[in-house]
Symmetry: C2
Subunit: 235 residues, 2 copies
Amino acid sequence: MKNIIIASTSTVHGLGYLEYILEDLDLFFKGVKNIIFIPYARPGGITHDAYTDHAKQAFKKINIAVKGLHEFENPIEAITHAEAIFVGGGNTFVLTNQLYKNNLIAPLQHVVKNGTPYLGTSAGSNICGLTIKTTNDMPIVYPPSFNALGFVPFNINPHYLDPDPTSKHMGETRETRIKEFHHYNTPPVVGLREGSWLHVQGDSIVLKGNLDARIFEYDKAPYEIPTGTELNMLK
Amino acid sequence: MKNIIIASTSTVHGLGYLEYILEDLDLFFKGVKNIIFIPYARPGGITHDAYTDHAKQAFKKINIAVKGLHEFENPIEAITHAEAIFVGGGNTFVLTNQLYKNNLIAPLQHVVKNGTPYLGTSAGSNICGLTIKTTNDMPIVYPPSFNALGFVPFNINPHYLDPDPTSKHMGETRETRIKEFHHYNTPPVVGLREGSWLHVQGDSIVLKGNLDARIFEYDKAPYEIPTGTELNMLK
């Protein structure tokens, strides 16, 4: 049975890394002693070691040990035997490219479908959707495909940002971008504001955190859903 | 001899489409009676016809007729015989994908190298760089390559936006994104603020408009250049 947290962000303004969600992670990872961290998204281009240290510090507070996937000789085998998996944020293109390069897409799909707990934040959440076509990231590397892990039957837009009515900048708003996505693609998109997450348990998908989320369905006006809403039927 | 305008945006806040740059376009297109407009980037998903009408209205003011590339039976032939070319903004991935699909990359490179005047705005400027890896757009379609037209030996970041020191949003700033680009790529990036453009004439590349631009070179601190600066040596 799938057991997944798909979080908009690792960090909310004014709090430390994962701090806003740490109590929930303590429950989510109940019984877990060791997590494999996938540091491939390399936020700001930091090294896999430095990024893994960051994750280690946070999980120490709830007594879970973290080891970076790059520390294993055989990443496929490591994923296959992982007790739990955490994929951190950074650049979604870099992350996706590295997952393909290391042939990790199918192994991740296999273990997560069979119950290995998975936590994603930001880029690590983007890849839980059908494709990475609703990422906010800059396409700094060219991955072999935009197809992602497909843990949920829709796309994720993390760090969802409401339009700023005072802005004089002419670049597209997030909503405009997602509407453009629907000119070429039909899957729904869940806009997850910072501090929100989806909790997937088997066939159940529930919005968590304090905020509403914004749902974009093909050929429909976007709408808001309150926290606690079940998204099991969205596809 | 190359003759190109690479503009950050088509529209600055408070003015009409191309209005801020129309006097300069009048000079740039001196003697030109007909422009071929490439509407492939489809901002907001509008049709090629609707987008072309938009361009027509703007160029009517300087007595230039506009025809959409989609109106020609043979787009390669149309580009080969074009008097001048304008590529409008929208989604850079959609634009790039369509250019590849219609085998237009090499024909565009050929005619622009040989002097056909080219105007690009936003996405139409992004593709003037070496790659589209510094676009701000959402990757809503998967193009066969991120390689672009390479009219200049660096990358463009249009709609360049300075960090907002009051923001509580945890998404990456534009500067952070471009720095991440340089962890995987070495070409310089020119951050063009809205209202700025590059004028390329043969080997000369000059920053125009009222604003400074921000230059990002590999392994160097970013720096500002004033309008009027020659960028001929940047590569």
